[in-house]
């Protein structure tokens, strides 16, 4: 599937109707999501015919993108049941099959090595410090091939250090820098929308 087509399809997905600030629910926009999944497949062959898990899936934009990119099996996990309801409707609308699960990412202990690739847009850890690294730690335990994740560009050095020193990754590389458009979702946001620079990372566990 071409990048443009993927991005177009993802633009039709429903997003959070009532985002929860404590969970840092920001939608993964079609621009970012399509580039993440497209790069994972076309540069590394990590999606098509693979078992893919979408951590903190929210409305499952990345999971559905993986399924559209012909992942063989997709599992979306989120702690918020309302998001999973939207994810479920989104999957039906797109006519793709994905499994969904209501679960905390912390403490997840799946039997390995069934999952090939984890894709995620984790909470940035602004509200709940360290949650981004919790996600990464669990993802690296579950994935046997690769983990794709988005993190604020300002945390680049920190992430590289922790991934290599504490999580023993074989490889940690920033594939590209993307602009993440965060619309005004919450009352405490003063501006209409904010552009945040995020890195698209690829980790090899």
């Amino acid at each position: 599937m071409k990048l443009k087509k993927l991005e177009g399809l993802l633009g039709d997905l429903d997003q959070f109707s009532d985002p929860k600030v404590e969970l840092e629910q920001y939608p993964t926009g079609p621009h970012v999501a399509s580039r993440l999944i497209y790069t994972a497949e076309n540069s590394f062959g990590d999606i098509t015919g693979k078992v893919v898990a979408d951590f903190g899936c929210g409305c499952a934009t990345l999971g559905i993108a993986s399924a559209l990119m012909e992942a063989e099996h997709v599992i979306g996990i989120d702690i918020d049941s309302q998001s999973l309801d939207i994810a479920s409707t989104n999957a039906e609308d797109m006519e793709v099959n994905i499994d969904l699960m209501l679960s905390d990412i912390k403490g997840l202990n799946w039997r390995g090595p069934l999952v090939d690739t984890v894709v995620m847009n984790p909470p940035f850890g602004t509200r709940n410090e360290g949650i981004d690294m919790e996600f990464l730690k669990t993802a690296l335990k579950v994935a046997s091939r690769a983990v794709y994740s988005l993190h604020k560009t300002t945390t680049r050095e920190h992430i590289k250090r922790v991934a290599i020193r504490d999580f023993n990754v074989k490889k940690a590389e920033v594939l590209c820098e993307l602009r993440f458009d965060v619309p005004r979702l919450y009352k405490f946001h003063r501006k209409k929308s904010v552009d945040i620079a995020v890195d698209l990372w690829r980790f090899v566990p």
Binding site: G49, H73, M101, G107, R111
Partner: protein, 122 residues
Amino acid sequence: MRLLTHNMLSCNIKGVTNGYPLTIEASKWMAKEVDFNGDFLRNIFVKIEWKVLIEAAKVMGYTDLPVEVDSSMLNSDEFLQKFHHALLEIHVEEGALICPETGRKFPVHKGIPNMLLNEDEV
């Protein structure tokens, strides 16, 4: 939930050491046809806990999987079709997953297992 997902799930209550496999209780299930991918099945075969898959499929009334298996069967189209059906086409819709050690039930509703823990289980 497909049986491929079930094959990797275990109970994550703190202190539980034998939380795998989760027993399935199903009051509703369905089969959804998906494209057959022989290469995927041949690759994933060694990673599947076969007995767990057989037992799970039986709960949903599917008893065609052979008990004894070895990799030579991966050349048989008939075997791969059965494996494909059990692993990817059967979905648990309503019911529960039960921890083998504690008996704790994790409900499955609209195909979505609820694996959230209570505060005293974390």
